[in-house]
């Protein structure tokens, strides 16, 4: 285990250095996301202002605003580019260079991304959490930050990231068949965005759809950690959803291994 860690640690380091090299790109990327987040904020504010009572489906306006910013924070934390990276490597054939090394294909992606994640978390988490707490304070007039809740949220976000990572890897393997993934990736992002509650809280959906969506792996991505942070999942309910997250991590980890062993036999390297 220790030996293995030593092999993959340089990938974490490399991921960090890569992020640092293209820091301007990173800043613009994050700025773009923050702008998107404000668009949702103004949209939902307009919806709440025009509604007759101040609450919709159990959400008050301040809660909704907290939800939007938490969603943004969580999406940033758990975002994974595995699908895109695999797609690109297959499209330009550079996958060969990873295959000639005695390392696990999936693990190199995981650790490289972890490096870039560490940079993102270090820079973003404090201002974002402070921002969310400030919004909560402004609307409710009291500080609601609990360190335990935050740690549970963080744990849940780690599971969510792992689910997202392995799910994206599995999806990326489609590139072995269709060669270029950009379009399929866009479609996937839209569907996952909807099913994971990024666009509309799952609580807003009809009862039947909600039940189904909550069991699907996508709710385990963004929705579960956000609900934990907001204190909407507590006690056994919270444990159950964290358990479900763990199940999905294992499921997609296993699936990615299986798909890899099938996909590698069908690899045809493009370009030279």
């Amino acid at each position: 285990m220790r030996k293995k860690l030593k092999i993959y640690l340089p990938f974490v380091n490399a991921g960090m250095q890569e992020t640092a090299t293209y820091r301007t790109n990173w800043v613009f990327w994050q700025l773009g996301n923050i702008l998107g987040c404000f668009i949702s904020y103004f949209l939902w504010r307009a919806i709440f202002v025009s509604s007759e009572n101040g609450s919709m489906n159990g959400f008050t306006m301040p809660q909704m605003i907290v939800y939007i910013f938490l969603m943004f924070l969580t999406t940033t934390l758990i975002n994974s580019g595995g699908t895109y990276d695999i797609g690109e490597e297959i499209r330009d054939g550079s996958i060969s260079m990873r295959l000639i090394k005695p390392i696990s294909y999936n693990a190199t992606f995981l650790f490289q991304e972890l490096g870039n994640k560490i940079m993102t978390v270090c820079v973003l988490i404090i201002p974002l959490v402070a921002g969310v707490e400030f919004v909560r304070y402004r609307f409710t007039g009291e500080v609601q930050f609990h360190i335990l809740m935050f740690l549970l949220y963080f744990l849940s976000a780690i599971f969510a990231y792992l689910i997202n990572f392995f799910f994206n890897i599995c999806f990326g393997f489609i590139a072995f068949v269709i060669k270029y993934l950009w379009g399929a990736n866009m479609m996937k992002n839209c569907i996952v965005g909807f099913l994971s509650g990024q666009i509309i809280p799952l609580a807003f959906l009809p009862e039947m759809a909600k039940k189904v969506f909550l069991i699907l792996p996508f709710a385990s991505l963004n929705y579960t950690p956000v609900m934990i942070y907001m204190g909407m999942y507590t006690g056994t309910k919270m444990l159950m959803y964290i358990g479900l997250q763990m199940f999905w991590v294992l499921f997609f980890w296993g699936l990615s291994k299986l798909l890899w062993s099938v996909a590698i036999k069908h690899l045809s390297v493009q370009g030279g």
Partner: protein, 334 residues
């Protein structure tokens, strides 16, 4: 060391009819066809040998190399390297090989070169003292010193190629695969790289498989050539065997004051051979005659020429390997 038996690789290819109509049609009813990039290739390589693996563009060289390095799974046939099958337990197998694809890099694009070696050290679990020793050695052979602290994206092609070769040798592999290691390099760098390969082969008895389009690489390095075309073996043997088998082409050069020498020398008629067997070119005083010495003996050729016109100076040249291979690629012989 390396045994390759009846290796075959097929790819599925979608056939699209021309134009927009064809595109729409192939969207709904894609027609696929199996294409064998490698049909049937067999060869053996002994321990410590340098094998020149050549063939025209699209002959299937890279596909074979990719199967030998465990990247692609063969459709049928087997390859055994060091007693191991590349596609079974890839991770274990690739520890013993080094690979350079001249058109790609295994170096970390955004990191200083030194860091890539640091990563490779951990990947291959090279102990600290061995690593230091190895880096000193590679530094000496490939002269990495000047750019080892620069990010890889800022290296010139020649520097990058040297760095790539060093990366493939860091773990002292038993087999080294070089796929066009001198592509796009200037003569000096080419020369350095050839020397480095030769030196490492001699010193560590590393088996080398080299594909290249630069036949000087082959002449300088390879003990043996395997030539393939359209996915099948064409030739397997040493360079001198290649020369004696196909290299009967000689070139006769002479200097004459006779401006109509070309018209006067009717070789084809005189020796009763086809026009293509003797090619005469004249440029001012210089006349160049290329002929097949297995059809017309050199002595007869000289006797006839000297008897026909007045010659100031004369020389006979051996066929060079480049020409033989060009003829093989164009299917003029074989």
């Amino acid at each position: 060391m390396i045994e390759v038996n009846n290796l075959r690789k097929e790819f599925k290819k979608t056939i699209k009819e021309p134009g927009l109509k064809g595109s729409v049609k192939s969207l709904f009813h894609p027609k696929t066809e199996k294409i064998a990039a490698v049909k049937d290739i067999s060869f053996d390589i002994a321990d410590g040998e340098i094998l020149g693996f050549i063939g025209p563009n699209g002959a299937g060289k890279s596909t074979v190399i990719k199967m030998l390095t465990g990247i692609l799974t063969p459709t049928s046939g087997t390859c055994t390297i060091n007693g191991k099958n590349p596609t079974h337990n890839r991770k274990n197998y690739v520890r013993e090989i080094g690979v350079v694809f001249g058109q790609r890099t295994q170096l970390w694009w955004d990191l200083p070169l030194r860091e890539t070696y640091g990563v490779l050290k951990e990947i291959y679990e090279v102990p600290d003292d061995k690593f230091k020793e190895r880096m000193d050695f590679l530094n000496e052979v490939l002269e990495l010193e000047d750019f080892i602290t620069s990010p890889v994206r800022t290296l010139s092609l020649g520097q990058r190629m040297r760095a790539d070769i060093a990366a493939s040798l860091l773990h002292s592999p038993k087999v080294l695969f070089l796929d066009e290691p001198t592509i796009g390099l200037d003569v000096v760098v080419k020369h350095n790289i050839r020397n480095a390969i030769e030196y490492i082969n001699k010193k560590e008895n590393t088996t080398v498989i080299l594909t290249t389009h630069d036949l000087a690489d082959i002449e300088m390095l390879a003990n043996r050539i395997v030539m393939i075309d359209k996915g099948s073996n064409v030739f397997d043997g040493t360079i001198s065997e290649l020369k004696s088998k196909y290299g009967q082409i000689r070139e006769l050069n002479f200097d004459t004051n006779d401006s109509e020498a070309k018209e006067r020398l009717v070789y084809a008629k005189h020796f009763k051979v086809n026009e293509e067997d003797v090619i005469v070119e004249q440029e001012g005083n210089m006349v160049k005659v290329r002929f097949d010495s297995s059809v017309i003996p050199v002595s007869d050729m000289l006797t006839y020429t000297l008897g026909k016109i007045k010659v100031n100076d004369i020389s006979v040249k051996d066929a060079d390997i480049e020409e033989i291979i060009a003829r093989l690629y164009k299917h003029e012989v074989g």
